[in-house]
Every structure is written in structure tokens, then in C-alpha cells.
Amino acid sequence: MTALLAMIRRDIKIALRVGGGALIGVLFFLAVVVLMPFAIGPDLALLQRLGPAVLWLGALLASLLTLDRLFMADHEDGSLDLIAMSRTPLEFACAAKALAHWLAAGLPLVVATPVLGLLLNLDGSASLAIAATLLVGTPALTFTGMIGAALAVTLHRGGLLMAVLVLPLSIPVLIFGVAAAGAAITGPVSFGTPFQILCALSLASMVIGPFAAAASLRQGLD
């Protein structure tokens, strides 16, 4: 347990320090949201209607962009091999790394959402609802994306292949995230149903993700 806590602390520290690059994700998120009005026009009513979709797509792309850092740096300096050989089960180590990655790169996206909601003419309660859906939805993105990151790092093929593999898998999260966010603002359905399914997706990916990632690391590192 202490080993896992130490690993989480170490990963967060590395991610937040110079050269870590976790906060670049937030910057990317901001840039995507700022680009949207240029593409669809400064019509505030339209932006408000598209707001949940824009925020969810931005967060999805931002979390995808930071994912290749999950194992890459550790693989380059060899600490991934040490983690794989240590007595801590690799599944737990993967879960800890994903958790640390989510805390450093996913949580800032959630925190930034209400601010970005202002740019899209979303009122306070709508922004908070979207932030809530992102809070329970982004872990699913991180833990599913971890499988792609593990595959990519063992194959020495970076980002693009990982994106191609991970994007189809993240469709359910996107569907229920946007549905829950939309339901909170206008939608015909209740907020609870898609929100609970979103929670279920996150929990399921927390179970499946570490096992699949550990399996692919174990297969690939030998």
C-alpha cells in the first residue's frame, strides 16, 4: 500500500513539475473551446446549445493527448521495467499510475470546465452539471485509454495508433456524458439515468483497464 501511495505521489510530482506537461492538457482544452466560436460563429444561443458537446469533445481530446505520457517517460528511463519486476502486482501499479495521471491531468480539466462554460454562454448550474459529468466520466477515459497507452508503449509506436485504438472504445462514455449534461440543461430525459450509467462505465473501466494494461505491459516488456 505504501509502495502504491509513493508511486502516486511520485507520478503527480513528475507530472506537475517542469517537463511533466500534465497542465498542457488544460491549455489544449482551452484552445479547443476558444476555436469553436471561430468555426461555428459567435452566435451565443447556438454556442449554448452546443456547449455540452463542445466541452465533452474538448475534454476527450485533451485527455487523449496527455495519455501517451502515462507509460512513455517511465519506459524511456527504465523505471517501467523496475515497476514490472517489483513485488507489487503490476495490475495495482497500473491502477495507481492511472489514478495519479487522472489526478494530475484529468482533474484540472474538470476544474477548468465552469470557467470555460462562461465562454460558451452556459449559466452556472449548467456548467456545474457538465463539470459533474466530467468528474465521473473522465476516469473512464483515463482507465480505458491506459490500455491503448500500454499497447503503444510496448510496441514503440506512439500517439496516432493509440488514438485509433482508444477513440472507438470511448464512444459510450461520450454518448452518456453528453446525454447527462444535455439532460441537466434542456433534455427530455432525466439527469439520473445517463449519469448513473456514466458512473457504471467508469467503475467497469477501473476494473478492466488495469488488468488489460498490465497484461499488455507484461507481454510487451520481455
Binding site: 490500455i147 499497447l151 509506436r157 485509433v164 472507438p168 454518448i175 488489460a212 499488455s216 507481454q219 510487451g220
Partner: protein
């Protein structure tokens, strides 16, 4: 003869060499019967002759999912039992599955044009088929990204299994998304039960397409085994040449 006996590629090659002509002949026979029956089937009172697209479309759609199932079994064979032919089976199946999915999409869209007035409709079934196609392409890209076949095999096996877990979830979520966005207006849910005059040709075509898949799959597996042998021999030759060069230089 069990599955383990087939682990010897030479034995597998010998067996399939005898089996393939029979399979191919049977496939051709059944396809001919099925196509004739499809052509002779009566027109639908609503859809006219276009209903006959169904006889090609449905077997393709069925096989597109069946092939992912076959690949998942092969993936288990690769990861759990390290069966030497399992990864060959998985690799050979992926392009065939992608082709079936593509054909299901194309025939579906050709059928949709006269029926719905558009080639593409974001209908739940079409959308999940498109996502399945994307996943097939991703899997093929994964196979092609790595030189070493056994390394690629294990990575692809993990992705195949993750996909097998995720595909039902994707299907469910797309269904949910679809009912949220457009109330069922295009497709009558359930529809009228199929008449016998449609059902029998459809079943014959489904069996014929399954046999076609088995034939193509076995042939592709033979090719893959031979390709790997060629690769091994080439590497051996290259190593020998390098050895000669080195001893000559010394």
C-alpha cells in the same frame, strides 16, 4: 484429432490442402443455390425487388460479428494456451471480418437509398456497424505496426478481447443514443415476421456465407504460415550472408 494435434503447422497444411477443394466446392454450390432462390423469391409488397438486397446484406452483417467472436477465441488461444496457430488464425481473420463489415455497410446503404431516401442514416444498427468497422481497421493497423509476429499477436489478442467486452457496451449505448435523438421512425422495430419464401433463401445464403468465410479463413491461414516460413528463411539467409561477409573480411 484434437486442437493440439493441429499445433504442428505442417500437419495443418496437409489437412487443409485436402479439405479446401471440398469446402470451396460446397461453398460455390450453396452460393449458387442461395442466389438462385434469392432471385426467384417474390418481391415484397412494400419494398419491391430491393428486398432482395437482404439476402446478401444480412449474412454479411451476421458474419461481421461472428468473425470478431472467432478472433476472440483465437485471442484466448494465444494468451492462455500459446497455441501456435491461434495468432495465425486471428491475423488471417481480421481483414476478412473487415471486408464482411464493409460489405454489410455498403449493401445496407444501397438498400437504404430506395427505402429511406438517403444513403446514410444515423440509425443505431448502421452506427454500431460503422464503429465495428473502425475497430477492425484499428486492429489491422495494430497488426501492421509491429514487425515481430509473436509480439504483434499478443498485443492484438489483448485489444481483441478488450473489444469483445466493449462491443456490447458500444451497441447498447448507441441504441440508447439513437432512441434519444430520433424516435423510431425509419425502421419498424421487429417488423413483420419473415415469410417462409424469404426465410429459406436467407438461411441458405447465411450457411453459404459462413462456408465462404471458413474457406477464405483456412486459405488465409495457409498463406500466413507460408509467409512466415518465407520470412524465417529470408532472415536465415541474411544471417548466413552476413556471417560469410564477416569471416571474409577477417
Amino acid at each position: 484429432m484434437t486442437l493440439i494435434d493441429l499445433a504442428n503447422p505442417t500437419r495443418f497444411l496437409k489437412l487443409t490442402e485436402r479439405l479446401l477443394p471440398w469446402l470451396a466446392g460446397l461453398t460455390a454450390l450453396l452460393l449458387a443455390i442461395g442466389l438462385a432462390q434469392s432471385a426467384l423469391a417474390p418481391d415484397d409488397y412494400q419494398q419491391g425487388a430491393t428486398v432482395k438486397i437482404m439476402f446478401v446484406h444480412v449474412p454479411n452483417a451476421w458474419l461481421s460479428m461472428f468473425v470478431w467472436g472467432i478472433m476472440s477465441l483465437s485471442a484466448l488461444g494465444t494468451l492462455v494456451w500459446r497455441h501456435p496457430l491461434a495468432d495465425v488464425a486471428a491475423k488471417a481473420a481480421a481483414p476478412i471480418g473487415a471486408a464482411f463489415t464493409f460489405l454489410a455497410l455498403v449493401t445496407g446503404s444501397l438498400w437504404g437509398r430506395p427505402m429511406w431516401g438517403t444513403y446514410w442514416e444515423w440509425d443505431a444498427r448502421l452506427t454500431s456497424m460503422l464503429i465495428l468497422f473502425l475497430m477492425y481497421l484499428g486492429l489491422i493497423a495494430l497488426w501492421r505496426a509491429v514487425e515481430d509476429p509473436s509480439r504483434a499477436a499478443r498485443a492484438a489478442a489483448i485489444f481483441t478481447l478488450v473489444g469483445a467486452i466493449n462491443l456490447p457496451i458500444i451497441k447498447f449505448s448507441v441504441d440508447w443514443w439513437n432512441t434519444l435523438h430520433q424516435p423510431a421512425s425509419v425502421l419498424r422495430v421487429g417488423g413483420p415476421a419473415l415469410d417462409k419464401s424469404f426465410l429459406i433463401p436467407l438461411l441458405v445464403m447465411a450457411i453459404a456465407f459462413s462456408l465462404l468465410f471458413i474457406t477464405l479463413h483456412l486459405a488465409a491461414m495457409r498463406n500466413e504460415i507460408l509467409r512466415r516460413r518465407v520470412r524465417a528463411l529470408q532472415m536465415l539467409q541474411a544471417a548466413e550472408q552476413q556471417g560469410q561477409l564477416r569471416s571474409g573480411a577477417l
